[in-house]
């Protein structure tokens, strides 16, 4: 495409079938402790 550059991203719509295992880190345990931030958490399945 000439006018649009698409970043490499995970398609959320694809995670509906594969997601929900619940093994991922609880966001508040990571660093924040005061604010809910989820987008920067990693998926345990993609780590494997």
């Amino acid at each position: 495409m000439k006018h649009i550059r698409t970043l490499k991203t995970k398609r959320l719509t694809n995670t509906v079938k594969t997601g929900g295992c619940g093994e991922c880190q609880t966001s508040c345990q990571s660093a924040c402790k005061t604010s809910c931030t989820v987008g920067n958490q990693s998926c345990e399945q993609s780590k494997r």
Binding site: M1, H3, I4, L12, E23, Q25, C28, C32, V38
Partner: protein, 449 residues
């Protein structure tokens, strides 16, 4: 950004305007009005842009409808399992931080106390028993100041490890500390056993010492902790830790504190807005927001300059894992407070999270007899972006998942309320994070990030 698919497109101004008109008008009218907005662009080129946008729509990368709401309703009906505990091993502290929600370890008028080994073990047993099929269990040693009860921390780590094989579980321990009692022995043990260490420091010396003083003392906490924190960071190869600060309305120029921490050599930094009650003098007020938004922009600009140099660093709130981030269920259901994530007081009482400890109406039960107030758990379980009207049309909803329940409660009296100041800051952080990602991928779609 295409909210529902998560696709992110970098476009020129003409394309941006055309996308804005695309769903509002007929194809001919979209092209015509875009041409009127940009007379310097030829009709053929505008037609080409239109076709590119149409291609993205067909491939499900633009204007994607929300397919998740019904699925999330089913997901929230799943059995509740607990996978993470915040263990308040010490309701006591050697500092007297001005903004401390733990009130120097006293937590809303309670008295100073340390968690016994018996209570700690019962908490780990409770976690194992209530974790269903979850393999990874998280335990954060928190306070007050957890190093004031270090022997119990160590014994609990050993106890947790001793139960891993028989139960098939794996503990991920973390430590949140102010650093005052951080000895070599603590560092060695933590490097061996702790998945993450959160090091509390606010930034510049003057500010840190003002907001994080010793109790009744005049010595600089900054002087005491910085060398120790630097040692932790280096001994962990600059990974699996955060130098973590809080900013309030007293340091609206918080980017200077982030950059100060970076200049001290810390590569993993998190500096976050204070969680406060509206009446607190240091609380962030709506009129502070424009300055704070500018500050995030300034910080992002500085990080862009440092990208790829030896002064590069990670800022927690600008980190977005675009390619390996969490699934949509996680993004919609949030931090898990009150359900998957609970806080435990020194006597074993259970609360929805560390921010609610001491708010007695939120006391859920205890580690010996389990959760009793299931109505509160159900309310937390139902907290997601669909239960918060303000989230529905927000572009950042899959990155913050509805925000912090404690913040919402503090400002609106309802965990499902909308803390607008927090939302404004969150949207800016997501915007900056995506800008940095776009810059990192600017060498082309196959570039490594």
């Amino acid at each position: 950004m295409d909210i529902n698919s998560g696709a992110i497109h970098v476009v020129d101004p003409v394309t941006y305007d055309l996308i804005g008109l695309y769903k509002e008008l007929s194809p001919d009218e979209v092209r015509k009005q875009t041409g009127e907005l940009h007379p310097e662009i030829s009709t053929e080129e505008i037609a080409q842009i239109y076709d590119e946008v149409r291609e993205l729509e067909i491939s499900g990368d633009l204007f994607t409808p929300d397919p998740y709401e019904e699925k999330v309703k089913d997901y929230t009906k799943r059995p509740t399992v607990v996978k993470a505990l915040c263990l308040h091993v010490a309701h006591d502290c050697n500092l007297a931080c001005k903004y401390c929600f733990a009130e120097e370890g006293e937590y809303h008028g309670g008295h100073r106390e340390l968690m016994s080994l018996e209570v700690g073990k019962a908490a780990l047993d409770f976690l194992i028993e209530n974790s269903g099929s979850r393999h990874n269990l998280e335990v954060d040693f928190f306070g007050g100041e957890p190093l004031m009860n270090w022997d119990v921390v160590k014994q609990l780590v050993h106890y947790g490890r001793s139960r891993e094989e028989e139960t098939g579980k794996h503990f991920r321990f973390t430590l949140t500390t102010n650093g005052v009692l951080l000895s070599d022995e603590v560092i060695d043990f933590a490097n061996k056993e702790m998945d993450n260490i959160v090091l509390s420091i606010d930034g510049r010396k003057e500010l840190n010492d003002k907001m994080r003083p010793f109790r009744g003392g005049k010595e600089s906490t900054y002087e005491r902790i910085v060398p120790r924190f630097q040692k932790v960071a280096e001994s962990r190869n600059q990974e699996r830790y955060y130098a973590r600060g809080t900013f309030t309305r007293y340091n609206k120029d918080f980017a200077n504190d982030v950059l100060h921490l970076a200049d001290l050599g810390f590569k993993q930094i998190s500096v976050e807005p204070v969680v406060a009650h509206e009446t607190d003098d240091y609380a962030i007020r709506p009129e502070d927001v424009p300055d704070l938004l500018n500050e995030y922009d300034r910080l992002a600009g500085e990080m862009l300059q440092r990208m790829g140099t030896d002064k590069d660093f990670n800022f927690f709130h600008f980190m977005i894992d675009l390619e390996g981030g969490p699934c949509v269920y996680k993004r919609l259901s949030g931090c898990g407070s009150g359900t998957e994530y609970l806080a435990v007081t020194p006597t074993g009482e259970l609360y929805p999270c560390h921010q609610f400890v001491g708010e007695t109406e939120f006391m859920l039960g205890d580690v010996f007899t389990g959760v009793k107030k299931t109505d509160i758990v159900q309310k937390f379980k139902g907290a997601n972006v669909y239960s918060r009207p303000a989230c529905r049309d927000c572009f950042a909803k899959y990155y913050c998942s509805g925000g912090c329940a404690a913040n919402a409660y503090n400002f609106t009296g309802d965990i499902l309320g909308n803390y607008e100041v927090g939302c404004q800051l969150q949207r800016k952080r997501v915007e900056c994070a995506i800008m940095l990602k776009a810059a990192a991928q600017s060498d082309g779609p196959d570039s490594d990030n």
